[in-house]
């Protein structure tokens, strides 16, 4: 495959039913009203020269290269800023226009270094291309006049250089930072020849607000902003379209390579999840795949105190098979199990659950979604009938009010966060319910209408109060409820009770009643209101209840079943949705069908040739408990570092230490592998061939850019373990696995690699009823028939702040790092977040004699760790926050066994802690 270069239409597409007809160079084209002359020309195959225009930015009209002649108009208007009009006649090529363009180009080149042959952008430079297009043959003004050729290069960013000497001041980077990313970190300083791009207040890129999303680099038409990998390796020569392996947005990328070496990852414009945008992780943090820490050979050891011994695949797989069988022979079929990974493909996950069900002969399979979005699966299935979000990402473009609860999209789902910010700049209103003042509460050009700083652990009281306002203030969409829902009357009586009023719960939630009422009226009165939520909803003792509470609120206000509305989980990892879809839960076969369903089980039994267990298996926390009890002794762990990521580390390590066989399949030796007997090297996303399913149910292809560096695909390893245990399990390739998924799972019956390669991506359900997929669910009816209102009593968590542990800890993520950090810690991203910090309100710090940067002890009733403090005004008094990206911190040493009542999802968001000064920073010590 050669280098893919998407067509650049110069200005964004316009939507709308009204069209106009325009004639350009004798060709007639019909385009939507508001389309620019430049885009209309491009759509009929006529490329007008341009430099400052690109089709993901609004037209700017500064470069003057795109001038055209229009009948009846004076002068030569810029085609990028001139909208078409019905009957307009345009000429893009005349001798006069050619002269004008050459003159403009002369001015540009007179102020640009002539180092094309040694420039890293050589062959990929739009300025160079345009000089050729306009036929530039001379520069009458010389090459060294009033210019900026001596300006220094800013190399502070780990991934790209800013060489100001090559800047043509087209403002594409500045506009990309604002319009696409929404950060507004860049500006143009000075006037005329003094105009230059500046990051922040004139400092370096790293000192500025830049989030390193790469939008500016992508927008730059010269080599002013250039990936350092291109400087070092040269221009790529071929592209492979694939899917990012970080968060649940699931961005499409062009992996651009020279041979098998990835030069850069460029966001793919036709990717439906990201539409050409990216974040610092997907765009730049792919170097872990070739990091020297990668373990590429299998390893075995008898005891976890023994040194590792590298072995051949055959020995490792044979060892796993025989040890697993031996454990079952001595302790029963249910003594072993497996955990699948949300970082692996659908195909890899499917074979793990198949191995457990068919070869292990039980349902002891779970996935890391257990510790993040399992309450989403439970709550949305109870109310709507399916375990997934209702909308596509694009739907938010039609939302008038966006209610974000317990999510921080600009850090955890940055590309979607940018999309939200764009919609807010267009005028949509924002409500944020979160203990912290996340960036969306107030950032450049963004101001939430309401910030509801809900106390950790009281979400259900908040959502009940909102529904109470809806019901008691006449804001119910009666027509929707009567036509589409059930159990409303009982719920209405329940939620109307005075104990759910904002005034009654103010002392619980900490939210002033008037503010909560105003926010609810805003949500309920909007033409289209949408709910976006994250782990701040699910990771609570009432995570499932809260999901059902949000579902109630959306139904009561009729905000389901069309664009701009819905209830939408922002999934943490790239394939959380897919790993759940693939039957990774111990009570569900693929497609969320309970293991007790004889008909469904029969489908798999016939195909797989084994009788399947009709009883649910162990969930991850249950596996740990059973290990300590001695009834669970063998575990296969695919791509999840449970020791670092799961709560109450001491309990996890005690469980693993008591097991006879722990098998870890991963890229790197990690915290869990310290307790493992077998290490099976895994493959990075650059080596995988399969699919990921993102938070909007979009199934996207993951295409390999190189063969597995370990010599085996991960699904092959799993199949071989099954075979070693006596169960024949074999596929020729991963496409065959998807074919089996489609055969067995009704919501996937229309999915195949061939289909995805043809159409790009589809959103499930994709079947005969919806051959092109389903962007928005529950349009004419809920999956379960009628939407079900569920009574959601608020029950306080058992985790309370006490005199000994007076603060509440919540944990979460930060933009530059990802999950347990196994990937991002092995990239330049650590420049932004080299360690986990404890964020603390100034008051809480002051009363403890703690200053910014001090090292403190963070203790809960189950453990203690040490980390440094960051004083943060965004924290509420009484609440502290940290991340879990670094094993040295071990944030989960302090989190507890508390979990969601329905799903056992850990209560990461509420841990009573105390913080005490351990070591002052050297600087602070001086001034004490």
């Amino acid at each position: 495959m050669t280098l893919i270069k998407e067509q650049d239409y110069g200005t964004p597409a316009r939507s709308g039913e009204a069209t106009v007809s325009v004639e350009i160079d004798g060709k007639t084209v019909l385009v939507p009203e508001g389309t620019s002359v430049m885009r209309a020309a491009a759509e009929c195959g006529i490329d007008i020269p341009k430099l400052c225009a690109t089709d993901n930015l609004e037209p700017f009209g500064s470069c003057r290269l795109c001038l055209v002649d229009i009948d009846g108009r004076k002068g030569s208007p810029a085609s990028c800023t001139t909208p078409v009009a019905d009957g307009m006649k345009v000429r893009t090529q005349t001798p006069e226009l050619a002269e004008l363009r050459r003159g403009v180009m002369e001015l540009y080149i007179s102020d640009h270094p002539l180092d094309c042959l040694t420039c890293p952008a050589n062959g990929g430079c739009e300025l160079q291309d345009m000089a050729g297009v306009v036929g530039l043959r001379e520069v009458r003004y010389g090459f060294d006049g009033e210019n900026h050729l001596d300006l220094p290069t800013d190399s502070t960013n780990p991934y790209f250089d800013f060489d100001a000497s090559k800047c043509i001041a087209c403002s594409r980077c500045v506009r990309a930072c604002g319009e696409v990313q929404g950060t507004f970190a860049l500006t143009i300083e000075g006037r005329g020849f003094d105009s230059k791009v500046a990051a922040g207040a004139g400092g370096t890129f790293m000192e500025s607000e830049c989030v390193s999303c790469g939008a500016c680099v992508q927008a730059c038409p010269t080599s002013t902003l250039q990936e350092r990998s291109v400087v070092q390796l040269g221009m790529p020569t071929r592209s492979v379209i694939t899917t990012c392996a970080y968060c649940g947005v699931g961005c499409s990328f062009k992996a651009e390579l020279r041979g098998d070496e990835v030069v850069r990852m460029v966001p793919y414009k036709d990717g439906k999840a990201n539409e050409g945008h990216s974040c610092v992780k997907g765009r730049f943090a792919f170097g872990y795949a070739s990091h020297p820490d990668r373990q590429l050979k299998p390893m075995v050891r008898e005891r976890i105190t023994d040194p590792w011994r590298e072995v051949e695949w055959e020995e490792a797989i044979g060892y796993v098979g025989s040890r697993m069988l031996d454990i079952q022979a001595r302790h029963g079929a249910g003594a072993i199990g497996g955990i699948s990974s949300s970082r692996c493909t659908n195909e890899e996950v499917y074979v793990v659950q198949k191995m457990v069900r068919a070869a292990f002969g039980n349902n002891n399979v779970d996935t890391c979604a257990r510790v993040c979005h399992s309450p989403t699966g439970y709550g949305l299935k109870q109310t709507y009938g399916t375990s997934a979000g209702t909308q596509d990402f694009k739907s938010v473009d039609k939302a008038d009010v966006i209610l974000i609860i317990g999510a921080n999209p600009t850090d955890a789902h940055p590309v979607f966060g940018s999309r939200i910010k764009r919609r807010l700049r267009q005028g949509a209103k924002l409500i944020v319910a979160d203990p912290r003042k996340i960036d969306l509460v107030r950032s450049p050009h963004i101001q939430a209408e309401h910030h509801l700083p809900v106390r950790p652990g009281t979400n259900v009281a908040l959502i009940n109060a909102m529904s109470h306002v809806v019901v008691t203030e006449g804001l119910v969409d009666r027509e929707f409820v009567e036509e589409r829902c059930e159990d409303f009357a009982e719920w209405e009586r329940f939620i109307s009770a005075p104990e759910h009023s904002p005034e009654a719960v103010e002392s619980i939630t900490g939210i002033p009643a008037a503010e909560l009422r105003a926010a609810t009226r805003l949500y309920a009165s909007a033409r289209n209101a949408t709910i976006m939520y994250g782990l701040g909803v699910t990771e609570h003792s009432q995570g499932s209840t809260m999901v059902m509470g949000m579902a109630n609120l959306a139904m009561a206000t009729g905000n389901i079943g069309r664009e701009g509305v819905g209830v939408n989980p922002l999934r943490g990892q790239n394939n959380v949705q897919g790993s759940c879809d693939m039957g990774s839960f111990p009570h569900e076969l693929p497609g969320y069908r309970h293991v007790s369903d004889e008909v469904v089980r029969g489908t798999f039994e016939t195909l797989w040739g084994r009788v399947l267990d009709p009883e649910p298996g162990l969930r991850i926390p249950n596996m740990f408990d059973a290990a300590i009890d001695g009834t669970f002794r063998g575990l296969f762990v695919q791509g999840e570092d449970i020791v670092q990521s799961d709560p109450n580390t001491q309990h996890v390590t005690a469980a693993l230490s008591s097991m006879e066989l722990v098998v870890v399949q991963d890229l790197f030796l990690n915290e869990t592998s310290k307790y493992a007997h077998v290490f099976l090297p895994g493959t990075s996303f650059l080596e995988k061939n399969g699919t990921f399913t993102n938070a909007e149910r979009r199934i996207n292809r993951v295409r390999p850019v190189m063969a597995p560096r370990t010599g085996k695909h991960e699904w092959e390893i799993v199949c071989e373990i099954a075979q070693a245990m006596g169960y024949p399990m074999k596929y020729d390739d991963s496409a065959q696995i998807m074919d089996e998924i489609a055969f067995t799972t009704p919501t996937f019956s229309g999915v195949s690699f061939a289909k995805l390669d043809q159409v790009g991506s589809v959103q499930w359900p994709c079947n005969d009823a919806a051959p092109e997929g389903t962007p928005i669910m529950h349009i004419d009816g809920f999956v379960r028939g009628r939407g079900r209102f569920v009574q959601t009593d608020y029950v306080p968590t058992q985790e309370r702040s006490t005199r000994k542990f007076p603060l509440i800890l919540t944990t979460g993520r930060i933009l530059s790092q990802y999950n347990v950090g196994a990937q991002t810690r092995r990239t330049g991203n650590s420049a932004w977040h080299p360690e986990d910090m404890l964020e603390m309100h100034p008051h809480d710090a002051e009363v403890r004699g703690i200053r910014d940067g001090d090292t403190v002890a963070l203790a809960s009733r189950v453990g203690e760790t040490t980390l440094r403090v960051k004083i943060a005004e965004r924290m509420p008094v009484g609440v502290v926050y940290t991340t879990f990206h670094h094993p040295v911190t071990g944030a989960n040493v302090v989190t507890t066994e508390n979990s969601d009542w329905a799903t056992n999802c850990p209560e990461y968001k509420v841990t009573a802690v105390q913080v005490s000064l351990k070591h002052p920073t050297p600087a602070a010590a001086v001034v004490r």
Binding site: H331, G332, A333, G334, A335, N362, N363, N364, S541, Q542, T545, P586, H587, H594, S596, E615, P616, G617, L618, R619, P621, N622, D625, A626, T631, F632, Q791, D793, V795, Q798, R861, V862, T896, E897, N898, S899, W901, A902, T903, N904
Partner: protein
Amino acid sequence: MTATHTPPHIRMSNEIAVQFRNRDPAWAAEQIAAHIHSFWDPRMRARLLADVTADDDRLDPLIVAAAALLPPARANG
């Protein structure tokens, strides 16, 4: 005794029970039994039933009522 020292199946079942404390007890027991039957591994259910039989006073009365509606469970997954 802290929650940490309460056997997991007792802690988890009581956490389920408290969610239903404001509902009709008979209906709540049915719902709880259905939930445990749908989501709990048989060995966990067996332990719960054993504790109910042994009159463990740490169990919420709603759980005791729900347990009466559960079918027998095999002890070792």
